[in-house]
Each structure stands twice: as structure tokens, then as C-alpha cells.
């Protein structure tokens, strides 16, 4: 889970590419041909597709569904994935992740991304410790302040924990375009490693200020709700995939939508959530092959908007 010499070198090469071609993504290829992006603050390589757990991993004590979640995690790691993201807000998702990790023997590739989500800052450390025990990991790689809730005190604590080596990265999150003005202020004033925002082919507000600011400040970007919680997929699946989608490297609608997101140069990783092994394979395949250029991205967005 630490940055290797190889990954850092790749990140440096990728950084040089960014300087030369500012509109192209600083991508590299990791294990299995998976496209990776460097985390700006360290250069650590991150596969561009991660795994979200909102709703999909909230299966309670249901043994059958827990095993299905573990199978999704196994397929995700086998395809070269690293980042799994969760929150105390997601019901039973945390213990279900812990169940899956135990079953899979805690894969080395895991990049654990969690959130602190509680109004009372004094309760933050206790909540983070409970989350850690659910996951069964020695420490989290990334801890984010969920939806900017009591962010001042939480962030102060997270930065202390990072300095003490109890965390590797610190971030903040929002979703569906909420509190973007305040989000920008935090990005501009705090030493963040990550931000997490909603971005997809239809919800593109972050392209205006947040994504450019992330590049300027060297902050990694996690993209949530890439399929609008499934609504976007359901809407586009009624239509045929355009023949030119192959030029964007997309073999199906999931890849079409994901490649649009991960081809933005400021995006580090998108985190689609799924309960299906087949779907996680499809999603991970979006992290391989071609990525659309700027002209193609415009064409993709225009096409979906016109559907």
C-alpha cells in the first residue's frame, strides 16, 4: 500500500506528460494494463476505477448477500482495482467490507478510503476507530470529511493523525453539487490530498472551478455517482451504443460513461458501485485501452445530452 520506486517514477513521467500536454490525462498503466493516475501529493499510482459501496454493500447480516459482496471485491482486485470507498453513513457497508477483506485475506493492493461523518467533532476519533475495526485494517489510507460536516475540527484532527502516521492521506467530500463554494474555499486553504465530488457526463459543474483548482493545488480527485446511482445507466441503456464509441475505447454503456469521466485530466479515480461481478468486470475494463481525447469527450457529452 506504499508507493514503490516504480510507481513514483511512473508518476514523474506522467507528470512530465501533464506539463507537455495540459489537456491530456497524466495516465500510466499498472498491473494488467489498468490505467493509473498519480496521487499528486505523493506520486503513488492509483488505478482510475475504484469501488463505491453506497447502497450496494449495505446488506446487513444476510450471509448470501455478504458472499456476493465479497465476490464483487474479489473480481475488483483480480481486475487490478485498489480503492474501496465507504462511510459510516452507509449502513452495514463497513462490516460487509470487513467480511469481504477477511475472506480474501486482506489483498495487498487495497487502498482503504473512509470518511468521518458526525456533527460532534469530539466523537470523530471514536467513529473512525469503530470504522477501522469494522474494516479490520491497521490504519486507513485515506480519511475524508464527509459532506463537509463539522469540517474545521475534523480536518484539524485528520491532519494531526496524518502527521502521526495514523493516516496516509486526508480529504473532503461532497456530492451532487452541494456546497461547492465552501468546498472550493477549503480546497484553496487546506493541505488536502484528495477531494471527492460528483461528476458524470450530465453533471459537469465541477469542470468550471473545482477540477481546475484541484489540478492547480495538486489535489487528487475521486468521482462519486458516475452513473447517477444507476439512473443514468437505466436511461442510456434504452438506446443503442453509437458505432463511434469504439473510437473512445468503450464496448458498452458503462465503459462509455466511465471513460468520459476518467479521461478528464484532473480526475484520479471514479468509484462506481455495483452488486454484480459481471458489472465490476465491465467497469474495470473501462480502466484499460483507449481514453477519449478532448474532441471525443465533447462528442460523448453532446450525444448523451441529446438522447
Amino acid at each position: 500500500m506504499t508507493a514503490t520506486r516504480r510507481t513514483v517514477l511512473k508518476a514523474m513521467l506522467a507528470g512530465a506528460a501533464v506539463a507537455a500536454l495540459p489537456l491530456r490525462a497524466a495516465s500510466a498503466q499498472g498491473a494488467g494494463g489498468v490505467i493509473t493516475r498519480p496521487i499528486p501529493s505523493t506520486g503513488e499510482a492509483m488505478p482510475v476505477i475504484g469501488l463505491g459501496t453506497w447502497i450496494t454493500f449495505n446488506v446487513g447480516d444476510d450471509a448470501k448477500l455478504r458472499d456476493e459482496s465479497a465476490a464483487v471485491m474479489e473480481a475488483f482486485f483480480r481486475a487490478g482495482g485498489r480503492m474501496i470507498d465507504s462511510s459510516p453513513m452507509y449502513g452495514s457497508s463497513q462490516p460487509v467490507i470487513g467480511y469481504g477483506l477477511r475472506k480474501l485475506g486482506y489483498p495487498q493492493a487495497l487502498f482503504s478510503a473512509e470518511k468521518v461523518w458526525i456533527s460532534n467533532p469530539a466523537s470523530g476519533p471514536g467513529q473512525m476507530e469503530a470504522s477501522r475495526q469494522y474494516w479490520g485494517v491497521p490504519r486507513f489510507d485515506l480519511m475524508q470529511v464527509h459532506n463537509l460536516l463539522s469540517w474545521e475540527r475534523h480536518l484539524e484532527r485528520l491532519l494531526e493523525m496524518k502527521a502521526q502516521g495514523q493516516l496516509r492521506y486526508v480529504g473532503i467530500t461532497t456530492s451532487e453539487g452541494r456546497r461547492h463554494a465552501e468546498f472550493e474555499r477549503v480546497m484553496a486553504s487546506q493541505p488536502l490530498d484528495f477531494v471527492q465530488v460528483t461528476y458524470n457526463v450530465l453533471d459537469r459543474e465541477v469542470e468550471q472551478r473545482i477540477l481546475p483548482l484541484a489540478r492547480e493545488r495538486g489535489i487528487a480527485v475521486i468521482v462519486n455517482r458516475p452513473f447517477r446511482q444507476g439512473d443514468l445507466m437505466r436511461a442510456v441503456e434504452r438506446h443503442r451504443l453509437p458505432a463511434w464509441a469504439a473510437e473512445a475505447g468503450a464496448a458498452n454503456w458503462a465503459q462509455f460513461l466511465l471513460k468520459f469521466i476518467i479521461s478528464h485530466p484532473a480526475v484520479t479515480v471514479a468509484i462506481p458501485a455495483t452488486t454484480s461481478v459481471e458489472h465490476v468486470r465491465e467497469n474495470m475494463a473501462a480502466a484499460t485501452g483507449l481514453l477519449p481525447d478532448e474532441a471525443m469527450r465533447r462528442r460523448m457529452a453532446d450525444y448523451v445530452r441529446a438522447l
Binding site: N58, D62, G91, E176, G177
Partner: protein, 302 residues
């Protein structure tokens, strides 16, 4: 919650329909064969309600209270809160409803000091009314003629007696309840109201469990009266609409009503085709409760 206007119902739904329905499968499997007991208890309540067996229904309401306490702990707290943490905040409300039902069933009609005060107040009003009535009748006689009866006041009284529920008292005393809803001087309207209330209870007891198999989820996912929150709330509302009286009805009905609305919102957000049923049950029971005002006297509960 800042920017609250940007949130929709879907932002609060944190589980899938599949997980929700499997929750009932697992719950039922863990409780089998308790379903027979709750069904038998429900049928006994139905009999007591239809035949107006006061003591039996009051015992039934105490059992219903115990069912609410069970649903609070066994379903909401232990299981539903696993996938939907706000359910942990709803569970105490269910427990409170259970305690209230048991308490009211235990206290019985006109047993509390406040009730006696209320009853005394009603008697005073009735006495004053009778005095006014006599005075008015006298004045009427003087002005119009010597016709001894069929005054407008009499006609009004006679209409009100005809529309009174079975067992209702037109005077200040407490009468015995009729053995049936359509006995005595009960109007046809009252029989319909009673039938509607009983039908809602039958729907909660016998039809609601059939929704799961009708929707293709099979009997293992059935939601049963006394074990699952929706049919328990709807059945409770039906009982209260018919058998509870006065202010206690409005103390006992809000929690089941609110639950039905919350459940409809949840099912709608889940995309469940049956999403309207809890709200319809609540609406129908409220209509029966409003139509049944003033409640049958003496009421079976409170």
C-alpha cells in the same frame, strides 16, 4: 443539513429493494412458527371487534401493544436498523405506542380522574341543554299553537337519535354496548362505517401477507400482522378507528399514521409497486375514525 432543498427522497434510501425484501425472508425464517400465534391473535381481535366483545377486545389491544413492542425491538432495532440506521430512532416510538396501547387497554373506560371530569362535563352540558330545550318548547307552544309534540327541537333530537351509533346514549348515563354493530337503532350509515373498519383490519390481517407472493417474492417474504410494521400499523388504525373514543383515539393514532406515511415514502423510493398500500390503509382508517365521530359510547377502548 445545509442546502436541504437539494435533497430528494432517494438521497435517504440507503438500501436496495432486494435487501429490504430479503430482510423479511430472514426475519420470517427466524421466527417460524410464531406466525400461527399472531394470526390466531389477529383473528381473535377481528371476532372481538366484529361482535363488540369488550373484555376480549381490550385483552386483544393489550396483545396488540405487546406486538408493537416486539416489532420495535425484534424488527426495527435488531434487523431493520442494520440496513437503515434511522430505524433505530423509530424503534422507541413503536415501543411507546405499544406501552400506550397496553396502558389504555389496562385502564379501561372512564377509569381515570380526567375521564370522570370529562363525563361530568358532558352531563352538565346535557342538563343545561335539556333546560334550554324545555324553555324553547314552551316558547314555541305559546307562539304557534297547542300542538304537544313534533316540535323542531324534537325532530332534531329524533334525527340525532336515529343517526347515533349502536349503544349510544342520548342522555347522561352510560349504556351497555350492543352485541353487534348493526343492532338496535343503528343507522345503515353506521353499519357501513363499521364494515369499512372491519374490512381494513381484514386487509391488514389476511391480504397484506399475500402481497409478497402476488408480487413474485414468495410466501417466505410475507409481511404479517403483529410481526411486520406495515400490517401491524394498518390493523391498529382500524381497531382504533372503530373502538377507541375521544381524545385517546387521537393520542393512539399518530404513530401508526406517521409510520404508514414513512413506509409509503420508502416503498415509493424503492420503486415498489405496492407503495401506496400503507398510505391508503392509513387514509381509509382515518376516514373511518372521522366518520365514527362521536365514537360509539361506551367505547371499547378508553
Amino acid at each position: 443539513m445545509s442546502e436541504w432543498w437539494t435533497y430528494g427522497l432517494s438521497d435517504f434510501l440507503m438500501f436496495s429493494a432486494r435487501v429490504y425484501y430479503r430482510l423479511f425472508e430472514q426475519y420470517n425464517a427466524a421466527l417460524w412458527p410464531a406466525h400461527g400465534l399472531t394470526l390466531a391473535a389477529g383473528l381473535a381481535m377481528l371476532y372481538a371487534l366484529a361482535r363488540r366483545r369488550e373484555r376480549m377486545l381490550r385483552a386483544g389491544v393489550a396483545v396488540l401493544g405487546a406486538m408493537w413492542v416486539w416489532v420495535a425491538w425484534g424488527f426495527l432495532w435488531q434487523r431493520y436498523a442494520e440496513i437503515n440506521w434511522p430505524a433505530a430512532y423509530v424503534a422507541p416510538a413503536f415501543a411507546l405506542q405499544g406501552v400506550l396501547l397496553i396502558g389504555f387497554a389496562w385502564l379501561g373506560p372512564l377509569s381515570s380522574a380526567s375521564d370522570r371530569k370529562v363525563e361530568t362535563g358532558f352531563r352538565t352540558i346535557r342538563c343545561a341543554n335539556k333546560k334550554l330545550e324545555r324553555r324553547f318548547r314552551f316558547q314555541f307552544k305559546v307562539r304557534r299553537s297547542r300542538r304537544p309534540s313534533a316540535t323542531p327541537a324534537d325532530a332534531k333530537l329524533s334525527r340525532s337519535a336515529a343517526s347515533s351509533p349502536p349503544g349510544a346514549s342520548s342522555g347522561g348515563g352510560v349504556t351497555r354496548p350492543s352485541s353487534r354493530w348493526h343492532d338496535g337503532d343503528a343507522s345503515r350509515g353506521w353499519a357501513w362505517i363499521a364494515a369499512a373498519g372491519l374490512l381494513i383490519f381484514v386487509a391488514a390481517l389476511l391480504l397484506y401477507p399475500a402481497i409478497a407472493p402476488l408480487m413474485g417474492r414468495g410466501w417466505p417474504a410475507a409481511e404479517l400482522f403483529g410481526l411486520a410494521p406495515d400490517p401491524t400499523a394498518i390493523g391498529t388504525l382500524a381497531i382504533l378507528a372503530l373502538a377507541a373514543k375521544g381524545w385517546r383515539r387521537w393520542v393512539l393514532m399518530p404513530i401508526p399514521l406517521l409510520w404508514c406515511l414513512l413506509s409509503t415514502a420508502t416503498l415509493w423510493t424503492m420503486g415498489a409497486p405496492e407503495f401506496l398500500l400503507p398510505a391508503l390503509g392509513a387514509l381509509a382508517a382515518t376516514a373511518v375514525a372521522l366518520a365514527a365521530r362521536p365514537a360509539p359510547s361506551p367505547a371499547l377502548i378508553a
